[in-house]
């Protein structure tokens, strides 16, 4: 009895420590975003903000973050749509191939994802210049798709593999083509897997900094992470605006994850097979 209680207690402590460790920096910049200029640089540090919107308005008006946001949305959104479309088709094929061969291909895909970015950035840049895609949206969407596809294929292949094959057989006998049975039966039932893959791809593309910095040198095309990094001038670091912009960047992600979390509940496929 006592032992069970102690175990539970330690478990809760552990959870709080882990959550606190990850959330503390996040909490700090959220608080900073709502401070005014003097509070941010106050020594000793001031914990509670005055809830001034000064930094936000300055980030929008002086630093023009709205168009960075728009660029990010276009790039991350398109990359996610392309990744999920390709990932669905590839994942389905790999889910239905003989397992031994599929495993080899999946391993190959995983290996591709393991190249360090610095090793591939040179070829990517030269390729994009050759295509004339530097400083274009597709110039960033294209590498993002390549980089997020492996994970999406993995998630979707493993998810589709769990789908009962009899459902597909039923669709085929009922008059669907292979692609038809994928679109009409498998995809609707795989919503949780698709959302998971989509969220992860989107977060990657939304937050990516390194490639965005190199490929988008034109401020008109820059994405949010690059934009924020370029806030700092030669003599000033506008901490308040950086915090406010970071908050605006992160908020949609958190909102999306919370929104889709409800859909990432499996059990949609209950009832297909005898319960």
């Amino acid at each position: 009895m006592m032992k069970g209680f102690l175990k539970k207690f330690l478990f809760i402590i552990g959870v709080f420590l882990a959550a606190g460790f990850s959330l503390a920096p996040f909490l700090w910049f959220v608080l900073s975003a709502f401070k005014d200029q003097t509070q941010i640089t106050a020594i000793p540090p001031q914990w509670l903000p005055s809830f001034s919107m000064e930094s936000f308005s300055s980030a929008v008006t002086r630093y023009g973050i709205i168009h960075y946001l728009l660029n990010s949305a276009i790039v991350a959104g398109s990359a996610t749509v392309v990744t999920i479309t390709l990932g669905t088709v590839a994942g389905y094929a790999l889910a239905r191939l003989p397992r031994r061969w599929a495993q080899i291909i999946l391993m190959g895909i995983l290996a591709c994802a393991m190249f360090p970015q610095i090793a591939i950035v040179g070829p990517i840049w030269r390729f994009l210049r050759f295509m004339g895609w530097l400083n274009t949206y597709q110039g960033l969407i294209f590498p993002y798709v390549a980089l997020t596809l492996p994970l999406a294929v993995w998630i979707l292949a493993l998810f589709f593999r769990e789908m009962p094959e009899e459902l597909e057989a039923a669709a085929l006998v009922d008059g669907c083509t292979r692609l038809g049975s994928l679109v009409r039966v498998i995809v609707p039932l795989s919503a949780p897997g698709l959302f998971t893959a989509a969220i992860l791809s989107f977060i990657y593309a939304w937050n990516e900094f390194f490639l965005a910095l190199l490929i988008m040198t034109d401020p008109a095309r820059q994405t949010m992470p690059v934009g924020i990094a370029l806030f700092q001038g030669e003599h000033t670091i506008p901490w308040g605006e950086i915090a406010a912009a970071s908050f605006i960047t992160t908020a949609p992600l958190i909102f999306m994850v919370l929104l889709f979390q409800r859909r990432i509940v499996t059990g949609l496929s209950a009832g297909a097979i005898k319960g």
Partner: protein
């Protein structure tokens, strides 16, 4: 509706032979049951007919036309799966109409057919529900309905009753017989349940290890099993089988096993000295007053099934099961005599019926 012919179908998975040289012909409107233990290849055969799996050799013919080159959607067959495979994200009505919708049939026509099938199966109250809100029996009906609305040339049923509980299974079995009478469809039905096979089938195909052992009417399968596998597989409790030698006697033959002797007739003379197996069904054994072939045996176990009793007895090292009327009483350890009518004996040479 249509006739179905399978010609020399073979299929292997790697080194495993799933089907070897299957030949079968089913008439228009016939109810044909594939019966065999699990892993005998009967489901694979059904998938080949549906076009879901391709055979290595042989040909599938519908109305004498080969359909091997056709994809499942072009074969005009409907299938009922063991798991029912209802689309979980669709209502019952959408499930029923899916096949018609995929074939571009007009909406009003689809609705008419859905209503018809729903009335036939008594599921019109469920049309708006989703599969997860249905009981096992209701799901089974929806799966049947999905096949019925299509009005296909051929119905393929893969163990459709095995997920139902025993009571329900008997009811649905009866309904299935009624339904078949009504729609006169050609049905290929896979099961491992011999009662289903015997009650439903116009024709029963006994399979094991990828090959066919016997194709016959259910009565013939039971009364004249083609080999020892069919003899032991069909019938519950199983047929008693004994191995022994044939010895010439004054009149006919004597069967000599390690444990007993038995008179046998109707065997060609040149079989003398050969080793054979004889079989006798429990209901063909008379207890207590044996006429010609009286065997003395010891009662070991009595299993009472209510309507009758099965007496498991021992003769030397051999065991034998006999049926008794429910009024009769026996005590374990008691010695009884068993009468076996020679005309009821099944005799197998090299495993095949003589």
């Amino acid at each position: 509706m249509a006739s179905l012919q399978l010609k020399g179908i073979s299929k292997r998975f790697g080194d495993v032979v799933a089907l070897s040289n299957i030949n079968l012909s089913i008439d228009d409107g016939e109810f044909c049951v594939l019966l065999g233990p699990s892993g005998c290849g009967k489901s694979t055969l059904l998938q080949i007919v549906a076009g879901l799996t391709s055979q290595d050799e042989g040909s599938v013919l519908v109305n004498n036309q080969p359909i091997d080159h056709l994809s499942p959607r072009d074969r005009d067959v409907a299938m009922v799966f063991q798991s029912y495979a209802l689309y979980p994200h669709m209502t019952v009505a959408q499930n029923l109409g899916f096949g018609l919708r995929m074939r571009g049939i007009h909406k009003d026509m689809i609705w008419k057919r859905i209503t018809e099938a729903a009335n036939l199966l008594g599921i019109h109250d469920l049309l708006k529900r989703r599969p997860r809100e249905l009981s096992g029996g209701q799901r089974q009906r929806v799966a049947m309905g999905r096949a019925l609305v299509r009005r296909p040339q051929l119905f393929l049923l893969d163990e459709p009753l095995s997920n139902l509980d025993a009571m329900l299974r008997i009811n649905v079995r009866l309904e299935l017989m009624r339904l078949h009478k009504q729609i006169q469809g050609t049905i290929l039905y896979v099961t491992h349940d011999q009662v289903e096979a015997m009650t439903l089938g116009d024709k029963v195909v006994i399979m094991r290890d990828g090959s066919i052992h016997q194709i016959d009417r259910p009565e013939t399968i039971y009364d004249r099993p083609a080999d020892t596998f069919v003899a032991s597989f069909i019938g519950s409790p199983a047929m008693n089988l004994f191995q022994g030698n044939l010895i010439r006697a004054k009149r006919g033959f004597i069967f000599q096993s390690a444990d007993f002797l038995l008179n046998i007739q109707d065997i060609p003379p040149h079989f003398a000295g050969n080793t054979v197996e004889i079989g006798i069904r429990p209901e063909d054994i008379e207890i207590a007053h044996g006429p010609e072939n009286a065997l003395r045996s010891k009662v070991e176990i009595i299993s009472n099934v209510g309507s009758e009793k099965y007496i498991h007895t021992r003769i030397g090292s051999a065991t034998l099961t006999a049926r008794a009327r429910k009024e009769e009483t026996f005590v374990p350890g008691e010695t009884i005599s068993l009468g076996i009518n020679p005309s009821k004996l099944h005799i197998f040479y090299n495993g095949k019926r003589m």
